[in-house]
């Protein structure tokens, strides 16, 4: 009884520190992709983090699909990371310690595998957003999203 009472008293205190209703309300974002040209990358804001949308070129898709699985620290097929091969959607937060990898803007370093490069601790990601080199343990996260129209996605 005492344990239940203490737990019931402590839980509201602890849970009050979890994301509040108005934070949760901003949990999804709709993005129109039609202005994005082939080879172009854009960033959108979702849950306080940037989401990278990359309209990949044929070579980039080919490069991503041809990587042997045993070369990957976190093996994952490219097709498992995209809904349409042309559109790569990623959470732009390095899986090491939460920095934003470079490679979105023209002229920024894209790392040794042509994807993204995290300047904080030197993680390199490939054209599928998979970790190839450096301290990050996992591939860049693919956020939950769906195509609501041909070129409009709903993230979250």
């Amino acid at each position: 009884m005492g344990v239940v009472a203490t737990g019931a008293a402590v839980w509201p205190l602890a849970d009050s520190m979890n994301p509040s209703a108005e934070v949760l309300a901003l949990a999804s974002t709709e993005v129109d992709l039609s202005p994005v040209a082939e080879g172009q990358r854009i960033s959108v804001f979702w849950r306080g983090k940037p989401v990278f949308v990359d309209r990949r070129t044929a070579e980039q898709i080919k490069a991503a699909e041809e990587v042997p699985m045993d070369e990957l620290p976190d093996p994952q097929l490219d097709e498992a990371r995209v809904q349409k091969p042309e559109w790569l959607v990623l959470v732009g937060v390095c899986t090491h310690l939460g920095c934003i990898p470079l490679g979105q803007k023209t002229g920024e370093p894209r790392g040794e595998y042509g994807g993204w490069f995290c300047p904080c601790h030197g993680s390199h990601y490939d054209t599928s957003g998979r970790i190839r080199k450096g301290p990050a343990p996992l591939n860049l996260e693919v956020p939950p999203y769906s195509f609501v129209e041909d070129e409009v996605i709903l993230i979250g």
């Binding site: 520190m17 934070v23 849950r47 983090k49």
Partner: protein, 402 residues
């Protein structure tokens, strides 16, 4: 004074005057303490300075992501003496760590962690950890680029926890990234923790006064001839040490107030632009180097925390019956290697984790743990200490030791 009727009336009901007289005035202290023993009281005084400046700064500061940076600039420009209070508080944090690190290394050298002072030492380690948490959260409050990204990197350490990592980090943030909720709670905790520190410091002193201070010879006092009353001897010595410390402190506050800071923290926080090199404040650099030296997230985090937690078990790792490094020739050598190792790790922590710096920090990390887990236990068994003097007053009376 003790004979004033009011004092007697109070003391009879609450013997606080007796207590203070016993613990601060008559308190018998080894007569041979050197200046390395000044740093404990210095740390206490800096804690008081930090609390006083912090309270008045909190009256001017706004813990909101849209106003925090501006409110700090308002303190710097418009509040009477605001620039001085903020620079004292910001540099005070650095001085707190300088003083406490010297205090810790003094304890390491003279074996102050050994029986019967194990608990005193462990409480000290708790103080260090609470201090680090307080300093980290304080650095977030100005909401500059380094504040924001430092907070992001450090809170993300907890995502290395298996299974619950993500949930813990979301809970710490109160959102899906470091944001207003995070800033607000960090301010609340930054205000709270210093008072928790005061309470732990009281425990630290309580444990200290149980057996009294260790001393440079590391041997127990044999009788009253080995000790002198704290007041006036150590009050005046501590006061002089404080004067010297304040001269250095004032130099930084008035002539190099931003030297220990980072220019990026004068750029308002921007969640969409990561600074090229995220570096923590200098006092975290050795730990940061340990974190980055291991190419595995979970292990890196574990190593970083282990580098502090190893201090908790140090009293049981070091089995040598001799306390003071003065009589342990090989231990003394390795002590200085450890000091050097920590400095090297600090330098590595400030450099990008790549190329030669990565290798150096790996060697440094390896050596750090080797020192505590292998060298210290082995020395306890293998080393032949030099003969100890018969009593504290003996070498003092005869000739200066060494």
């Amino acid at each position: 004074m003790m004979n004033h009727p009011l004092v007697k009336w109070i003391d009879h009901r609450l013997p606080i005057i007796t207590l203070m007289n016993k613990e601060l005035n008559e308190y018998p202290t080894p007569r041979n303490l050197n200046y390395w023993w000044n740093f404990g009281s210095l740390a206490g005084i800096i804690l008081v300075i930090m609390i006083l400046t912090g309270i008045v700064l909190a009256m001017q500061y706004t813990p909101h992501k849209d106003y925090a940076f501006d409110s700090v600039e308002r303190i710097m420009r418009d509040v009477n003496f605001g620039w001085m209070l903020r620079y004292i508080h910001a540099n005070g944090a650095s001085f707190f760590f300088i003083v406490v690190y010297i205090h810790i290394f003094r304890g390491l050298y003279y074996g102050s962690y050994k029986a019967p002072r194990e608990l005193l030492w462990m409480i000290g380690v708790v103080i260090l950890i609470v201090m680090m948490a307080t300093a980290f959260m304080g650095y977030v409050l100005p909401w500059g680029q380094m504040s924001f990204w430092g907070a992001t990197v450090i809170t993300n350490l907890f995502s290395a926890v298996p299974v619950f990592g993500e949930a813990i980090v979301t809970w710490l943030w109160g959102g899906f990234s470091v944001d207003n909720a995070t800033l607000n709670r960090f301010f609340a905790l930054h205000y709270l923790l210093p008072f928790v520190l005061v309470a732990i410091v009281v425990l630290h002193l309580w444990a200290l006064h149980r057996f009294g201070s260790n001393n440079p010879l590391g041997i127990d006092a044999k009788g009253p001839q080995d000790k002198i009353p704290f007041n006036p001897y150590y009050t005046i010595k501590d006061a002089f040490g404080l004067g010297v410390c304040l001269i250095f402190f004032a130099w930084f506050v008035f002539f190099a107030p931003n030297y220990l800071g980072h220019p990026d923290n004068y750029i308002p926080a921007n969640p969409l632009s990561t600074p090229a090199h995220i570096v923590p404040e200098w006092y975290f650099l050795p730990f940061y180097a340990i974190l980055r030296s291991i190419d595995n997230k979970l292990l890196g985090v574990v190593a970083m925390f282990a580098s502090i937690f190893v201090l908790f078990i140090l009293p049981w790792l070091d089995r040598s019956p001799v306390r003071s490094g003065k009589f342990r020739p090989i231990f003394k050598l390795f002590f200085w290697v450890l000091v050097l190792d920590c400095i090297v790790l600090g330098i590595c922590g400030a450099k990008p984790a790549e190329g030669k710096w990565l290798y150096i920090s790996r060697i440094g990390t390896f050596w750090y743990f080797l020192h505590f887990f292998v060298i210290i236990p082995l020395l306890g068994i293998l080393e032949r200490p030099r003969p100890l003097p018969a009593s504290i007053s003996e070498p003092v009376l005869k000739a200066p030791a060494e």
